[in-house]
Symmetry: C2
Subunit: 206 residues, 2 copies
């Protein structure tokens, strides 16, 4: 792409660094900002800058928060002895939307992924192990995505806490509610047979 303006080119190149945004889309977005009043660009950039500079992470669960201890961790009606281990804030939001979980979260900030250069030391794993070793935790629920990286991360943490007195579980894998059996992949279908549940239990929360 050849640009008639260096200012435009720089803006497009910066926009195209966002994941999933190609050069063409970046140009479309930047031209949109040019057509809108100058104030929109000012508000947009100041919101991003302010967030990047002032954002805090909860000291207990490492979730994004505007205060030292987030609303979930500081809620006295939640059960601090059950901790759900997730990758990032989107998983917390998804789980909170279900309204099914009354424990606390622990946000790892990613998954172990050598290909992306993410090792255990870059994740919030040590503080989780310390929490477990302190004896205040009864159950750890792994809720990472069902990928090789997710499984690796689960197992890495499990090895460090398996000698502690703590129950460990993972969220159920199986056929999604509403899914047709014939379109399910073999691995999921096979595991859903092995981990079948008593029919009476499956009637809960319907």
């Amino acid at each position: 792409m050849e640009f008639s303006s260096k200012l435009l080119e720089r803006a497009v190149n910066e926009m195209a660094q966002l994941p999933g945004i190609g050069k063409r889309t970046a140009l479309r977005l930047v031209l949109h900002l040019l057509k809108q009043p100058k104030e929109q660009t000012e508000q947009f950039t100041s919101a991003l800058l302010k967030m990047r500079e002032e954002i805090k992470f909860c000291k207990k669960c490492h979730n994004i928060s505007d205060v030292e201890i987030c609303d979930i961790c500081s809620n006295p009606s939640r059960d601090g002895s059950v901790i759900c281990v997730v990758e990032d804030i989107r998983d917390v939001m998804a789980l909170e939307n279900t309204g099914m979980f009354k424990g606390l979260y622990h946000v790892l900030g990613g998954k172990i992924s050598p290909i992306d250069g993410v090792g255990p030391s870059q994740l919030n794993i040590n503080s989780l192990v310390e929490k477990v070793k302190s004896g205040a935790v009864k159950e750890i629920i792994f809720a990472l995505s069902s990928t090789m990286e997710g499984d690796t991360t689960n197992f890495y943490i499990y090895k460090q806490i398996k000698d502690c007195e703590v129950i460990t579980s993972t969220i159920a894998r199986g056929i999604a509610i509403g899914d047709e059996l014939e379109y399910a992949d073999e691995v999921t279908l096979g595991r859903s047979l092995i981990h079948r549940i008593p029919f009476e239990n499956s009637l809960k929360n319907m």
Copy 2:
């Protein structure tokens, strides 16, 4: 979507104002910026702000430019008597990529579109009509997109310059090179019959 942080929420809402970016995508992009070094967000926002504040439009063709008269308009080897009328800078870039056009451009900045609240007065139409009336232009080539808005804009301009001594043309509409006939829409196929070209002419520039 419920956010645990107002800073995050504001950043996501601003990001989601960009066209084609929904709330989920906006959250993904904002979280990406949070994972990257602070400098990336600073460079990104400063590039956008600087562009929005300092960008200039060429005084002759209204294309985006860093100088008063853009590189194309100030190029003495280009033919100022042929003017190609386009919607925005992307069309200029696309046409320049063909290497087939040696005239100048006139960037309207949009199309007449009552639904979007865009009338003729918001577009760079008057300056085009003045250019034509000054007598320095021999041919006007309309290269707007082939939509109702594009056709309306073409016709609006045509009405104002049809009494001047100027040739008006539009770029050819027809079956794209490499396209299968059976998948072409009826209107395009029908017009490609009406506006058929002598076979010898079709061999040019192959």
